[in-house]
């Protein structure tokens, strides 16, 4: 158990040491990487443990908030993803951020992020989850805004933080509601509390639980970037690319899915059967995956393509959770983390080699110049588009499709169409980036990146293929043991998914091989359904500005007018009144003095 505590607090200690002591020495990156390595080793050692331990952090009367660690299959498996991808990203960052002036700050941010993420995964109660949830928001803000001199990066960081905060407010309300329902905050005690509540209030238990779950889902909407709070994730690509790989592939965005599944396990899966909130969650996920995949087909920035594909895959996972198949979601999360980190780091390598050129139409022909990156990126693409039987993505996507097929045929249709779109846009990205002729000087001068960069790529490529097979030893949640569920409709699903794959590949190749500019131009998709524009022009202009003017009015009237200004004005006017007393006339003073004496005598004598 001590190991788990070290796992939790080591990154924090490293972050503090980096920030306070090692900023100037240049040791910060090494220390961070070492801590990532140690946490990974500890995570491996903790595999398969089943324990909890906690200490009271704040006690108020009988109520006490605990900081605790819960080890089970879910958390130890997730820790492998977090620390494993984290370690590779740390190593990759060593090379990627080599020339950055603020390396120490960057690695401090990474360590802080690892600390917060570990906290979410290991937490044994909801308050702790919430605390670390917010810490993740903070550290992602720091990392996305690493190049804060750029306005776009600073704005993206702000946007990410604000979107997350919007969701987190709902999350907090949800936690409080659950606390009210069950009377407990620790995961282990909640189910018993819920049963008591169910017995006491059988009529409205479902509705109240639905409301609480929906509120908690708000938190997941924010963190896992579901509609309508998805806008922060593509913008967050302004951060350094390894950060995108860490935050937007493996960890932060997965936290929402992880937390939802944790909630389901905590309250008992059977309580979610037929719950209205579950329906809502499933449809939110399905629509997000569809909308994001549509948007991804028209993006020109390689990182944005990946960002939207992440959104779409997260939509898959959320849909699976909503369909009460959290195991499929966690399995997809597990495999997706590796190959999406691979794709992001591959994109990072390309961007690094092309001197920070991110437009895929200015690349091209990179497969010959960067064979290792090209091949590993290809493997990642294959895993994402779920090439049958050889890639890990195939197995997990199949589970999600099965879940959709068994519960809701419309969602199944959406999911298959999304699979087609995924294949299409990833083929497009791969073909345009790696095949054909080079289309700019930067791409012309590109050459293979150093071993510190391609080594993580190769390891991740191995995981992209193999993670489905080693899910067992890594304690990842793997639903493939439920054979009977698997048999039902298996070939229908397989047929649909392979058809989607083939169609996507064909259309992608036919449309994009040998092209120098995009043959398709769909402004609606290119402009991301105008959602960002809507937020900027409507929400920001009317809501925010109206709200701001309301607050300004309040500020002017109450704070400035009545409280601060009012006090000063009343002091001034009282002073003005008493100024008359200082008349400067000696006789006046004498008269008052005499009057005073008379009054004193009058009151004392009579």
């Amino acid at each position: 158990m001590n190991l788990a505590w070290i796992l939790l607090f080591l990154p924090l200690a490293v972050a503090v040491a980096n920030q306070l002591a090692l900023k100037k020495t240049g040791l910060a990156p090494t220390l961070s990487v070492a801590s990532a390595l140690v946490t990974f080793v500890i995570a491996v050692l903790l595999l398969g443990k089943n324990e909890t331990s906690h200490f009271a952090w704040a006690t108020i009367g009988e109520f006490s908030i605990n900081i605790g660690i819960k080890l089970d299959q879910l958390s130890t498996g997730m820790m492998i993803v977090v620390t494993g991808v984290g370690l590779l990203v740390h190593i990759f960052s060593l090379a990627y951020m080599k020339d950055d002036a603020a390396k120490a700050r960057y690695f401090t941010g990474l360590s802080l992020f690892m600390f917060s993420m570990t906290g979410i995964v290991l937490a044994d109660n909801f308050i702790m989850t919430f605390i670390f949830w917010e810490l993740v928001g903070l550290s992602s803000y720091l990392l996305i805004g690493h190049w804060y001199e750029k306005d776009t990066a600073a704005n993206a960081a702000k946007k990410a933080f604000l979107c997350n905060r919007v969701g987190d407010f709902g999350f907090m309300v949800g936690i409080l509601m659950l606390w009210g329902i069950t009377g407990h905050l620790a995961f282990d005690q909640m189910q018993a509390g819920l049963e008591l509540f169910q017995k006491a209030n059988p009529v409205f238990c479902g509705g109240v639980l639905s409301a609480a779950v929906l509120c908690i889902f708000c938190g997941a909407i924010g963190k896992s970037a579901q509609l309508p709070l998805h806008v922060w994730l593509p913008d967050a690509m302004e951060g350094p690319t390894p950060v995108s790989a860490l935050i937007h592939a493996a960890t932060m965005v997965a936290a929402g899915v992880y937390m939802l599944f944790r909630l389901q396990l905590t309250l008992g899966l059977e309580n979610f059967e037929g719950l209205q909130a579950s329906q809502f969650i499933a449809w939110t996920g399905g629509i997000t995956s569809l909308v994001a995949a549509l948007m991804a087909t028209q993006q020109d920035d390689i990182k944005r393509v990946l960002a939207y594909s992440t959104l779409s895959q997260l939509g898959y996972m959320v849909m699976a959770v909503g369909l009460n198949s959290g195991e499929a979601a966690m399995f997809h999360l597990f495999t997706h983390a590796w190959f999406k980190a691979l794709l992001f780091l591959g994109a990072g390598a390309i961007i690094y080699a092309c001197h920070h050129e991110q437009d895929i139409w200015k690349m091209g022909g990179l497969l010959k110049k960067m064979p290792i990156t090209g091949i590993t990126f290809g493997i990642g693409t294959a895993a994402l588009i779920a090439v049958p039987y050889v890639t890990s993505g195939f197995y997990s996507k199949e589970e999600i499709l099965t879940a959709a097929y068994n519960h809701d045929k419309i969602l199944f249709g959406i999911a298959v169409f999304v699979a087609f779109l995924t294949t299409f846009y990833m083929t497009r990205a791969f073909v345009v980036t790696f095949l054909g002729k080079t289309r700019s000087d930067q791409a012309d001068h590109a050459h293979e990146v150093g071993p510190l960069m391609w080594l993580p790529l190769i390891i991740l490529a191995g995981m992209a293929i193999g993670s489905a097979w080693i899910a067992g030893p890594l304690c990842a949640i793997d639903p493939r043991t439920h054979a009977q569920e698997h048999a039902h409709g298996h070939f229908v699903i397989l047929g649909f998914s392979i058809t989607a794959l083939v169609l996507g590949l064909i259309s992608g190749f036919v449309l994009y091989v040998g092209k120098n500019q995009d043959p398709l131009s769909i402004p609606l998709l290119k402009n991301r359904f105008y959602i960002d524009g809507f937020y900027d022009n409507f929400i920001v202009r009317y809501f925010q500005d109206a709200f701001a003017s309301l607050i300004a009015f309040f500020d002017e009237l109450f704070i400035n007018g009545l409280m601060v200004g009012g006090l000063s004005r009343s002091a001034e006017s009282v002073g003005n009144i008493f100024r008359r007393v200082q008349s400067g006339s000696l006789q006046g003073y004498a008269f008052c003095f005499g009057l005073g004496v008379i009054l004193v005598i009058y009151f004392t004598a009579f």
Binding site: R579, R580, V581, Q582, S583, G584, S585, L586, Q587, A590, F591, G594
Partner: protein, 106 residues
Amino acid sequence: MATLNDYLLVSGLLFAMGLAGVVLRRNIIIVFMCLELMLSAANLSLVAFSRFNPAPNGLPDTNGQMLVFFVVTVAAAEVAVGLAIIVALYRARQTIHTDELTSLKG
């Protein structure tokens, strides 16, 4: 034979005149004299009390008389200081009229 009340009446009149002078007159020297008048009024009442409140041995009460001596000496010192201030004031401002001395007005 004058009674205590007669003395006190005269003393009160003197005091009222002094106070009226202090409040109404503009010339500082007059004001100053009126102040002295008020002190004298107080002295008169003290002496009167002393005279009409004899000690057991038949002599007047000495406390009041001693107090009068103190007041007289202090008044003498006060006059010395006060007149010096008035002279200094006149040198500085060429006036001793209170309605022209209003630099403390707020």
